[in-house]
Symmetry: C3
Subunit: 147 residues, 3 copies
């Protein structure tokens, strides 16, 4: 078991999720292989880094606060390639419409190491569930990084 | 600190939680020692793998979507035995009644290694809280693995 | 990459969060350096262990149930010092007023090792969001460690 490589891949995934939720799109792009194959659930599918980054940048303005946290890494390394599954919990707050999406998914990723750096080469997930609801009438943001 | 054994035990726990939430009952059973002693909160207590698996299989049909995520592993290995604490967050969606249970617990587990494989020999948790509530009137599933 | 030191620091953080949510204030204090510099969001700032522990003890009686879970550790060790970022999700249930606070933050911590023990020397976080809402009318605690 290559604990160092496993840790490096975990750090890559955490950086991907952190830059996603902080809307740091250039750094987000650096976690993805240029030819990434990315499929999120049954509705979203992208070919290549630019498609993923452009979509995220456009669909996630400051009025939309996201939380994407991945747990339970099960990662197997084979030389400069690795596969991993993760258990995602996510929440999307559409602040101007007072809507909330919540969900959970199992991710299956492929990672590739080039010049000593791991990137996400393929990512896909299957949801256990996803739900949409209105937030309660008195729901109030008391802190908002983009407010 | 035996980092390899700790990682193996984490993988075991993640497999236990993944197969639980995916309702893969045969694989779920394989994470449990045949003579497991399992107590969940103050209401549920089981002796042996078959009791646990039978209970889960019967009480968690496709109308009940569960999310069980364990965090903060604190694991101590002693030869072929180990103890671990985890911080569980769980959510149960009773879709046909539009009810939701949410809760959190601290797990204390004992693990046992036989023929190179770790299994859960004892598991128990104490809740910090558990709550039940009706879901909002407009709560709608937009994805459902069992729908 | 010093995997042992990283793991020790993770254990420290888990102990800090566990004793916080279990209201075990003496053990909580032991995770903090005596001269800790602690800032939580924009409203709370403390100098020294006693200030932090006193504040938590007074503001978190048994009527207030908290959940603080930290994910995605990104830790860099440099001798007897280390820095780490974490992705917090928290929930506070004010049970007697049926109010709930939910939020998420990115923590940045500094850790210091003295006599072989790591402690939190500095901790600060920036929220992505924090929200307050009333719990649904039929929300009912079915388990409560402090009930």
């Amino acid at each position: 078991m290559d604990l160092i490589a496993i840790r490096e891949i975990e750090q890559l995934k955490y950086r991907y999720l952190r830059t996603l939720d902080l809307k740091e799109w250039d750094d987000f792009g650096q976690t993805l292989a240029e030819d990434i194959d990315a499929t999120y659930g049954t509705r979203l599918s992208f070919q290549g880094r630019d498609q993923v980054v452009d979509y995220m940048r456009e669909s996630l303005p400051g009025t939309i606060i996201t939380l994407h946290q991945c747990h339970h890494p099960e990662i197997t390394v084979d030389g400069d390639t690795a596969v991993g599954t993760w258990y995602l919990e996510d929440k999307v707050l559409v602040t101007d419409q007072k809507l909330m999406l919540t969900g959970a998914s199992f991710y299956t990723d492929t990672y590739r190491r080039r010049d000593g750096q791991w990137q996400i080469a393929k990512t896909t997930y299957i949801r256990t569930f996803e739900a949409m609801e209105s937030l309660p009438a008195d729901w109030t943001l008391t802190a908002n990084r983009w407010g």
